[in-house]
């Protein structure tokens, strides 16, 4: 079937530059035209794979009629983190592969699956953000003062969890020595910790780390993070950390590591966190991560498997 949508219009659709009526029309055409779907899918995959700049760099200053404010934040987060973290993770894999000594929690090259930058970009965004899915993020972001966080066990738990997730990105970025990303991520973790009573000194360590990101060797960074993690090693930090590691590893098809990480997940802590935050989606992530390797393969096999399970 010939295409129904011009290149200009499809590009404008992808960049979120069409008004609602035009967008609906394009959606209808895409539903009918296999050729247009193919071009759209190939474009998105190719743009996603371009790691030197976010794919939809112009989107922030354009109208995005289809997105809610919350979606915009998610999208902005993705744009900010996905490309550098993906690059950091790939290079981190290379780095940890040649490092003589490293902490066991940094060992991301533990099995033989091929790394896919495309999947990694996806994994990076999900690990950074989607672990804190709607209910959980709302609960956390709804509490904005230190006193309130300190008095809310759920908020403290979510903060620790989120710090654990972010720490994985921090490890990856530090593995590559990407000082800009390390500074941002360390600052992010510090910001989370500052919100919680009793963790100010620890937040300070992250801030120092961020400020010195450009001058720390990977080994020094690894040791610093290890020390920090020992202090932070409460159930919720570990939970976020292990889930993020497992998910990234699984997306990378680093199956051995995924199993290792998921084996360490504390299901009681998960249940407790979910109950406190009133959200059970984390269970879904664990279920996904615990699926057999074959079930992560794409295409129609995924569809048939998903239908059959």
């Amino acid at each position: 079937m010939d295409r129904l949508i011009s290149d200009e219009r499809l590009a404008a659709f992808l960049d979120g530059c069409l008004d609602e009526a035009e967008r609906s029309e394009v959606l209808g055409m895409l539903a009918r035209s296999e050729s247009d779907r193919e071009v759209l899918a190939d474009t998105v995959a190719a743009l996603d794979d371009v790691a030197d700049a976010p794919a939809y760099a112009d989107q922030e200053r354009r109208p995005t009629v289809a997105q809610s404010p919350g979606t915009g934040r998610t999208s902005a987060r993705w744009r900010r983190w996905a490309a550098p973290v993906a690059a950091a993770a790939v290079a981190g894999l290379l780095w940890v592969g040649i490092a003589e000594s490293r902490g066991p929690w940094l060992r991301l090259a533990g099995s033989s699956g091929p790394a896919s930058l495309e999947r990694l970009g996806d994994a990076a965004s999900q690990a950074s953000d989607a672990f804190l899915s709607e209910g959980l993020r709302y609960r956390f972001s709804g509490v904005t003062t230190r006193g309130a966080i300190a008095s809310d066990p759920a908020a403290v738990a979510v903060g620790r969890f989120r710090a654990g997730v972010t720490a994985v990105d921090l490890e990856l970025a530090s593995g590559l020595g990407l000082s800009g990303q390390v500074a941002d991520l360390a600052s992010g973790v510090a910001g989370l910790l500052r919100e919680m009573d009793g963790l100010g000194p620890l937040a300070g360590r992250f801030e120092i780390w961020g400020a010195n990101a450009g001058s720390l060797s990977p080994r020094e960074a690894t040791e610093l993070l290890r020390d920090t993690r020992e202090v932070l090693d409460g159930p919720f930090f570990r939970l976020g950390h292990d889930l993020a590691r497992g998910r990234i590893a699984a997306e990378l098809h680093e199956w051995g590591l995924a199993e290792e990480a998921m084996g360490a997940v504390d299901r009681d802590a998960l249940a407790e966190l979910g109950a406190m935050a009133g959200f059970d989606a984390l269970e879904r992530w664990v279920e996904l991560l615990e699926r057999p390797r074959a079930e992560w393969e794409g295409g129609m096999a995924s569809l048939i498997r998903d239908l059959g399970t």
Partner: protein, 275 residues
């Protein structure tokens, strides 16, 4: 923007029906625009070629082929850009379309899927025999074995299941297994085995169930499973929130599952195929 349909250019592109393409705000020569964006073009070409499973030689060939078309008529395709999107996205769409044309030019309208090409020659030949020529899976496997490929029936089914769905729906409804032989060429195998017939039946049922879904829901599933995008990519493609999309996909799968169950296709049977 115009909401009209678009005609397909003879070789490469679609053009707006409503009048000639508007000139770029600051008229530039096609070659100047090409030089300005050549790094992005090269990067996108490389990634598109990899997604389609092109070899290094094919990738270089595509690059030359695309360059000629990008520069044709003083870079008409590039000068058509009007700033309605980012240059990167526009070039991505243009090159994805050119690659599609290149593959048509090289392999004809029917061509092996990228997944088959990535899986190797046996997968390409299997896909060609089964999806294009209408052979039965087991007959195709036997033919491939005779050619020296080491391929089992179950491996073949797994390969086919992992490839994009290019199933041509029959005119008759599900269950009419006796018509399968009629889909084949006269010199092809005579009988379909039960598994393949069941496979066809499932694919037809899935298509039926898809027809009952809203357009956007169909699109989501087709991009996710037929085009093999990740959920995150589907979300970005359609400009919809990512996290609720996981649940939405699951709900849609539940609906497909119910549809299949209603037609006597148990989930356990589907799972068994892939095991």
């Amino acid at each position: 923007m115009s909401g009209s349909l678009h005609d397909r250019d003879q070789e490469s592109n679609v053009v707006e029906e409503a009048g000639a393409p508007a000139p770029h705000e600051e008229p530039s020569s096609g070659s100047a625009l090409y030089l300005e964006h050549r790094d992005t073009i090269a990067s996108l070409e490389s990634r598109l070629a990899r997604r389609k499973g092109l070899s290094e030689v094919e990738s270089e060939d595509f690059s030359s082929w695309a360059k000629i078309r990008l520069l044709r008529n003083n870079g008409e395709i590039l000068r058509r850009f009007r700033g309605d999107s980012s240059w990167r996205t526009y070039l991505g769409v243009v090159l994805a379309n050119l690659l599609r044309d290149y593959l048509d030019h090289r392999f004809g309208r029917w061509r092996p899927s990228a997944k088959a090409r990535r899986l190797g020659n046996a997968a390409v030949e299997l896909e060609t025999l089964v999806r294009r020529d209408g052979w039965g899976v087991r007959e195709a496997v036997r033919a491939l074995r005779n050619q020296g490929h080491d391929l089992s029936d179950s491996e073949a089914f797994r390969m086919l299941a992992s490839m994009p769905l290019r199933y041509r729906r029959r005119a008759v409804g599900p269950g009419a297994l006796s018509t399968l032989a009629g889909d084949r060429p006269a010199d092809g195998p005579l009988l379909a085995d039960e598994t393949q017939a069941r496979f066809v039946e499932v694919m037809e049922s899935i298509e039926e169930a898809m027809d009952d879904l809203a357009e956007e829901d169909q699109l989501i599933l087709r991009l996710r499973f037929w085009e093999d995008l990740t959920v995150a990519q589907v979300a970005r493609s359609l400009g919809i929130p990512q996290k609720p999309l996981y649940r939405r996909v699951n709900r849609l799968l539940d609906r497909l599952r119910e549809h299949l169950t209603d037609r006597g296709l148990a989930a356990e049977e589907l799972a068994r195929w892939i095991a």
